[in-house]
Symmetry: C2
Subunit: 152 residues, 2 copies
């Protein structure tokens, strides 16, 4: 086990795979470790890089395939950053929520859905649309980064 790896999170991810009937192969375990130890959001390229630095090789397609799997299991979620690029973030699959992302350090915070469903229900009624999915993404500066900013 590599240093800095959150074993509990890793286990949680692997169990999600197994519970859904997927094999917990060495490659998927590796991706789980990399994901679990990511600080904030990350890209597939980022994981690949970190793997390579530790001299573990894994195919690019395999990483994307694993991330796809984890996405459908809602263990990770894909973010659309304001820059237009995509990133993934580790996520709690148990309840629907949204993300508050620090534009400076990339760390993110889960945000409960709160009053959003009621608001959306009203929008659906007014517009006549049958609303099937929604996404709320919040971007800002986390307290830590705001502090660092103030120090300078």
């Amino acid at each position: 086990m590599r240093p800095g790896i959150n074993a509990t999170q890793t286990e949680r991810i692997i169990q999600a795979l197994e519970r859904a009937g997927y094999q917990a192969t060495p490659n998927r375990r590796l991706v789980a470790e990399l994901v679990a130890s990511a600080d904030g959001h990350f890209t597939a390229a980022h994981l690949l890089d970190r793997g390579r630095r530790e001299r573990v090789t894994i195919g690019r397609a395999t990483v994307f395939r694993a991330l796809d799997l984890l996405t459908t299991l809602r263990v990770v979620e894909r973010l659309d950053l304001p820059s237009g690029s995509h990133a993934y973030v580790l996520c709690d699959p148990d309840e629907h929520h949204h993300h508050l992302i620090c534009s400076s350090c990339g760390r993110s915070e889960d945000v409960a859905d709160g009053e959003l469903p009621a608001l959306i229900e009203r929008i659906g009624r007014r517009s006549g649309y049958r609303i099937e999915a929604h996404r709320l993404e919040l971007f800002g500066t986390c307290p830590r980064c705001a502090g660092a900013e103030a120090d300078r």
Copy 2:
């Protein structure tokens, strides 16, 4: 002027360009026409295609540059579809709002911001983040598509 083109919308887009001090060149007028006559959301490739079908040639980079401009002027907005791909949609720049997009036909409806700011303010207070931007995207089926569905 081509048939099916919404001259008023086209004019509105061109005026936005001029008001911001950009030249309303023939190419930008063309993009404005294509954008104004799009039904629902569209991609750069889609505009390029439609141009080509009417035997008007315009460089790919030029279309992207025009869309960038219109995006900064908030005349169009970029959408992140659940599929992961990007699209643009014609937009009213005058007040902050969000989009309700039909997954079936691609048409979209503007949605007022409503109670969202209050909700976001609360989230910021609870989390300590300074929230600087937000995005709400709603996906569903529009009444027209729901009707067509029911007919079958």
